[in-house]
Symmetry: C2
Subunit: 332 residues, 2 copies
């Protein structure tokens, strides 16, 4: 999966900022990939990029229109389709991580075929992957794991990569989910890969690299989430992590979507992840905790981080509140 | 995935018995599903079923021709295609677990469409599965797990199911691979399911059942196989096993296909499987070991089983040599 940059970010008629969180993520982490934003009447989101039409974006070098907004009710509306069709006709590829595929909208599929442009539905793998070999690869890798799904793993690895690059080190973020793929323009939509090839897809995602190069691999799921733990296991084995960070949301009481499954402790999650990781990299170790304290006030957040740090004997940070510098210090 | 029975078993031009092992498995475990075998000139395999042509098989009630032979070099040869086409024209569905799909042979696809018959490529899921809920289901379940791939998990669970039914108990074998699906006519080709839906597919495979009913669920892979452990993890979580048997091939020194990965011990494999299983069924426990001693002589096999039994404190059997009665005793 590989998208052409730079992007025109399509915010559509997003009712609020939350609906445009994909666009906001792209702008936050890869502003250099964005020439501007396209907003329709009624749009209440704003990425802080110049508003522009399609022709202006093309003139400024845009190669791909990225749908950075969720479609309500799973419907790609007619007003959206008009804009997306015009974008293809003006020379842009389209990319989206919507639940329904761009390629399943006949007029978009026909226009893209006629114009020779690509429709990237980043929830769907665009190629076949090999079965994992388990062979050790060169370079260094960090994988984010978590007590649950959706607790900040993508944000943590994007922040670690940004901090590492700010220090002048060689590093890359490796996306395993659709938002991460749209942000960086490449990656593997791991949860949509066929079972036998999951670990192999991760091996392809993070290939051999120079000895001092770090790949920061986006985590998925949790070994303690009964719906998705198999994906997490394959990701751990394929990633061969030298280092892991444990991601956690301290106010959550049950696994996402499953009220009858409590959140596991940090310690038992780490023990299970470490045991799995040592199969393909016996040197695997934890280097820190990334805690999403957004639901806590400043004092409670500080106390939470101090408590976790004392319990684990590792730096505990909130990537948003404190940054991840102290974890990168450990890697250096 | 659900096939119509009974079958005509197609042995084609199998050069030896090994090439026809799928047909032999169907005959061994579900003779009541077989009306006869179809052999072409040069066939050196024999299931011990009456040889018959297609018209005779149809007259005897056959509903599906099952390709029970491996195709050499991944090619479905022209002589095969002639027979398969004639079978469809005579009123049979086709089923196969070949690497290349029946549906990708144009003349078979066209004939099946024209005649209104089904082509079952059992390596490929024929429907969408839900995301796993993790909700506890009624009935009892046993799952086979292993130190490695291909160490006798299908055979063990087929034998356990047969023994249980021979004792007049309610039980079913639940297939998770193509050979098992062809044997019983239904199941889930788990290694071909999309990652997010693996555990959900297993929940569908083994639904709610009466309290004293046992499902014997075919195992896949190993938590210690770096290529496939994610599939195994999802299978353990989706199966919610009350009981597990550990399957093992005692002369193997490395993981199948991966010379640089040694075989884990029985004890560490069981500990990892039990830890995973307790997430969705806290009452999970091991009830025995099924050891494939085919590579040992009788004395060595007996010593091997005695050693494992002493180490684990559980019945250790070879399903082929000793039967699985002592494990079923534990379940009763």
């Amino acid at each position: 999966m590989s998208l052409q940059t730079p992007y025109l970010l399509f915010l559509g008629d997003a009712p609020d900022m939350l609906a445009a969180k994909v666009a906001l993520g792209v702008k936050q982490w890869r502003p250099e990939n964005c020439v501007g934003q396209y907003r329709m009447p009624g749009c209440n989101a704003d990425c802080g990029l110049p508003d522009m039409g399609i022709e202006e974006a093309v003139a400024k070098g845009a190669k791909t229109l990225v749908v950075g907004v969720a479609n309500r009710g799973g419907v790609i509306s007619d007003p959206w389709i008009d804009v997306l069709k015009a974008a293809i006709e003006s020379g842009l590829d389209l990319a989206a991580g919507l639940h329904n595929r761009l390629a399943d909208v006949p007029v978009l599929a026909e226009t893209a075929r006629a114009m020779g442009h690509a429709l990237h539905d980043v929830r769907v793998p665009d190629r076949l992957y090999p079965i994992a070999s388990g062979a050790k690869r060169t370079g260094k890798r960090l994988l984010a794991v978590g007590t649950d799904c959706s607790c900040g793993k993508m944000y943590a690895t994007l922040a670690l990569d940004a901090e590492m690059r700010a220090r002048g080190r060689a590093s890359a973020f490796r996306a395993t989910g659709q938002t991460g793929i749209l942000i960086t323009g490449e990656g593997v939509p791991l949860d949509a890969v066929v079972a036998d090839f999951m670990a192999g897809a991760v091996e392809v995602l993070s290939p051999d690299a120079p000895p001092d190069h770090w790949d920061f691999i986006e985590g998925q799921g949790s070994l303690f989430h009964p719906s998705f733990a198999g994906v997490t296991m394959a990701l751990i084995h394929g990633a061969q992590p030298d280092a892991m960070v444990i991601c956690h949301e301290p106010t959550r009481t049950h696994m996402r979507g499953l009220p009858h499954y409590p959140i596991p402790s940090l310690e038992e999650t780490m023990a299970a992840c470490l045991s799995a990781a040592k199969l393909t990299n016996p040197a695997a170790r934890f280097v820190g905790a990334c805690v999403n304290t957004a639901a806590l006030d400043a004092d409670a957040a500080a106390a939470c981080l101090a408590d976790i740090e004392a319990r684990l004997g590792l730096p505990a940070v909130d990537p948003v509140r404190t940054g991840v510098g102290r974890i990168v210090d450990v890697l250096e």
